[in-house]
Symmetry: C2
């Protein structure tokens, strides 16, 4: 053996290593710019051995995406205690941590990377969106959402995705500001929808009633009041 | 000739006809459920003749998508006169007309259809988003947008896409309500962003100052005032 000290890894251990190496490389460059040769070199093994564990680049890409999706979904989990605005703000912090860590990989995936359009990739992206949706409903204490609430939550999730993508393109706005802005956006979209729907209005009143005077939702109300008065 | 009356079409005329037939079929079913045989039958020509004009289903799909993209981009054009809220509301009406007409084709495309992930398809989708972005900036009278204004406009465009997709999935909310809601959402997202950015705040004041008391933005302000007071 060339390295002399390389020990044999089990199949699962080697697969985990290759996924980790791939994700590390995808965090700096778009997956379609990263070759199997580079992944092999970074893992310290030969190119044919990579193909032994993953039959092609697509299967390694999908396995890496699966691990990243599980990682992201875990970050949505937040204890169901304390004001809702603060909970959502903490989740936004962890979401931007993820986006920050996976920059080019996240962009390539959401903008249409090499495996995008494959049914496995689309199903994974949808599973993460669904995990976010389920978490938000649980925090709101809602079991059977109305169509308007479902729309607010799902469309806000897509707003969070696009906000993160636009942020990655140049990082011209401080991410802490965008994390708070997305919390405010949620309240603003809910407020717009509440105009049409008594259930939404009741939910919004409940949500705001539990907010501390120094919480992110109260801050938004203060700002909107100033705007309306002006 | 079997039909006896079929006249010969020129190449471009035949290509246009096949694109029209494909778009008509894609408006009822997802493109991946529509076969070249069906397109040939609906156009009254043989399957090999379809392949004479389009070398494969993907090239016909991309040509159909290109025409649909041009059609949609044209609907964004709106005279630059009168209150901004009313202009945006008219554009939303035409956007939902398009979404309504192209239902399954639009869903398949945006959710990941057969040609999604191809660079040609992604470039077309991006060109439509860019056309929407350019139109909105022109109506706002802005030549060099700040990063926060760019974020508001681009993220609102993605919100409009996701709202339309969620609407198509069951049509459980009247579309007229969603057209107005998206106009309100634009103002709401701008208002949230205005809290961070004096340029956004100035733009928002300018935008609201030109609104009639019965316009959609004034309606939103009234509703938010009620909400803030409650």
């Amino acid at each position: 053996m060339a390295t002399g000290v390389r020990r044999r890894m089990g199949v699962e251990e080697r697969r985990r290593q290759l996924i980790g190496v791939a994700l590390e490389l995808f965090s700096h460059r778009s997956p379609d710019e990263v070759s199997i040769d580079e992944i092999a070199a970074a893992a310290g093994i030969s190119r044919p051995l990579v193909y032994h564990y993953f039959p092609g680049k697509l299967s390694l890409y999908e396995a890496a995406l699966k691990r990243a999706a599980e990682d992201l979904a875990e970050r949505f989990e937040e204890p169901r205690e304390g004001p809702l605005g603060a909970r959502l703000l903490r989740v936004m912090g962890r979401f931007f941590d993820f986006v920050d860590e996976h920059g080019p990989g996240f962009s390539a995936l959401m903008r249409g990377g090499p495996a995008v359009g494959s049914s496995a990739t689309n199903a994974l992206i949808d599973s993460v969106r669904q995990a976010a949706y389920v978490q938000i409903l649980a925090h709101l204490g809602i079991v059977s959402p109305s169509p308007r609430l479902e729309l607010v939550v799902r469309s806000w999730i897509s707003l969070a995705e696009s906000t993160a993508l636009i942020w990655l393109d140049g990082r011209r706005i401080p991410r802490g500001e965008l994390e708070l802005q997305l919390v405010h956006d949620f309240a603003a979209l809910a407020a717009v929808s509440a105009a049409y729907d008594s259930e939404m209005a009741a939910l919004l009143r409940h949500l705001l009633s539990g907010e501390p005077v120094d919480g992110p939702f109260a801050e938004l109300i203060g700002r909107l009041s100033g705007l309306v008065a002006a």
